[in-house]
């Protein structure tokens, strides 16, 4: 797939990622490193919590969403995250769930401080195999503009 520049995007564009399965091993592995709480670490202990079973860390869901987003948009020389708002986890991610990310471009403008770049505002919604939303967020990212052959006068 060809890499995308800022110029290749427009407001209203939608993208859908490939699916990605969250294995129990990876779910527990992430939690051990970054979110060592009982409902992310052990089947048995997680049964006693309000989740009634093992769930992924929200930060694991966020990291997997980033991977799917990066692969799907494939921005030339990368997309530089500036910030995230209204990050929510309305449903838990369970072992074996298959996640997909849908991206919508909400707004676009050229960067004032770095005119070689554009800034995109986007919404990422992550769903599981039953179509339930497991994460939603708004984000801003800096994406490179295509080099023009002639400099503007």
């Amino acid at each position: 797939m060809k890499a995308r520049y800022f110029d290749d995007l427009k407001v209203g564009d939608r993208f859908k990622s490939e699916p990605l399965r969250v294995t129990e091993k990876k779910l527990i592995g992430f939690a051990r490193k970054f979110d060592p709480q009982m409902f992310h670490l052990s089947h048995k202990e997680a049964q006693r919590t309000i989740f009634k079973g093992l769930t992924a860390s929200g930060w694991h869901t966020a990291a997997l969403t980033m991977r799917l987003f990066v692969q799907t948009l494939n921005c030339a020389n990368g997309a530089i995250g500036l910030g995230v708002d209204k990050l929510r986890w309305p449903n838990a991610v369970r072992p074996g769930d298959v996640l997909t990310v849908e991206t919508k471009i909400l707004a676009m403008r050229v960067s004032r401080s770095r005119p070689r770049y554009g800034i995109i505002r986007l919404r990422n919604v992550t769903t599981n195999q039953r179509g339930e939303v497991v994460q939603r967020m708004l984000a801003s990212a800096m994406v490179q503009r295509r080099k023009t052959k002639r400099a503007k006068k």
Copy 2:
């Protein structure tokens, strides 16, 4: 350290985590799994980007912040993340940086739907060894209340 319940916290409380070093190996390892972009993966390629060198994924900083937060507050039976707002990465995290998280409790209330829990609103600020802010965010989390011996009439 004793586990903290909702009742052990009050608005205005501040907590400071232990320091945590971000090694180059872990920085690249996280990026390979979750944020495979050139400025997070390779010294050589990262030199050509606006970062002029290798930087950590913002999601790696967020995940490390969660780890430090969980260890520092040590909430009884865990802190359940409900959502995050105004997540920003004002300075890049570089290999070898040492991160510390400062948490401030901004607001507290008892959960309406789950009266055994309280909901805390907090600010987490992550700084490097030079005191530069590498991440800031607002978050809401659900924390268990201490069991009272007598049920209320």
